[in-house]
Symmetry: C2
Amino acid sequence: MAAPPSDFVIGFDADDTLWHNETIFEQTHGRYRALLARYHDAATVDRTLFATEMRNLELYGYGVKGFTLSAIETAIQLTAGKISADEIQQLIALGREMLAHPVVLLDGVAETLAELSPRHRLLLITKGDLRDQERKLAKSGLASHFRDVAILSEKNEATYADIFRRQAITAARFLMVGNSLKSDILPVLALGGAGAYVPYHLTWAAERVPEMPQAHGRLFQLKTLRELPAVVAKLGWS
Amino acid sequence: MAAPPSDFVIGFDADDTLWHNETIFEQTHGRYRALLARYHDAATVDRTLFATEMRNLELYGYGVKGFTLSAIETAIQLTAGKISADEIQQLIALGREMLAHPVVLLDGVAETLAELSPRHRLLLITKGDLRDQERKLAKSGLASHFRDVAILSEKNEATYADIFRRQAITAARFLMVGNSLKSDILPVLALGGAGAYVPYHLTWAAERVPEMPQAHGRLFQLKTLRELPAVVAKLGWS
């Protein structure tokens, strides 16, 4: 007979924690650099695009549509208006390809969620574009493991505190699993929760933090999600 | 002494129910037509843009960023690639202006929410871009009246049923207030709830329905939100 669900809650980030994402952006960046190679070297293209994205972040938020608009704006700027309408159409097509890209799960994700979901309340807590995140979750085949889904425009102490309040979560009984120290781990540790940090091999510059936080007994670094049940056991939650 | 809150729930749409929105799109459409007037008449521009928006809706969802991308795509198509980078930059600027536009409340909204919120559970239920809807709610000064906020990628029977489940709402004790028969009224009536239809003077073509639904005693048409407390009284909820 299955044990009753515990009152512990495990939150999961989505992009680059459950499925590949930054690799898709990286491919797009490569094609973007190629498109502008007649005008500027790769480093200048990358630096200027990132500066545009950061300038537009407050207005556009995260996600592919804002990225596409920033890529068009940057291309116009870097070519001093010489970019052709056909090339801009290629940028729109690049954005569309990203949105339609298949969802490829990371190693061990499906098995680990299937193992944990009967015993714990699992939440998906992600940021980005509403439609795009919903579509990826539906494509992933993982939706049935999550008791609830929160798609946020930003992940920080205030937005996690809001989720804790709405979902009646006690911070000391909450573990957040994710690949971003900045968005998934630091705010949760600050609120008194625990963090399972699963680095992805690529990290978008806007998510980088200077050093690993210290939180004895509440912070775990994992190579893959397969190690998560052992972390849950170590926390005494199973 | 104030009465305790009732267990009735009132949901409010946001754009064109609480604040002006379609008027901003209409201004943008005017400037878009002017930009393309050398190439095509206004009706062709409108028809082609709308067709692009509908084709992209599944991928982009609702909101200003998707609109801007569709406007760029349509402009390239309608000018056979002759549109200049400078003109495309103007389209990006148009989109940005829409996102940064001040929030102007509709008549009676602030007073009506202030009157109803102490006695009923008010929810904001809107669709569109996450960041943009959050920003508008913050700018509106109305956030404190709402017990919870749901920003959806689509409003239909399934997404309302999901809200009812998550928020422990009984359909027969739920009233939805909005300007769109298609998104705010029809799905809620179908689930057994009540609807207060407050038409806005402009309706986006994608939200139009052929005729007024029939739902005796559960559907009310209002001229402004000022009439809402009387509807609530008629339902026997006050």
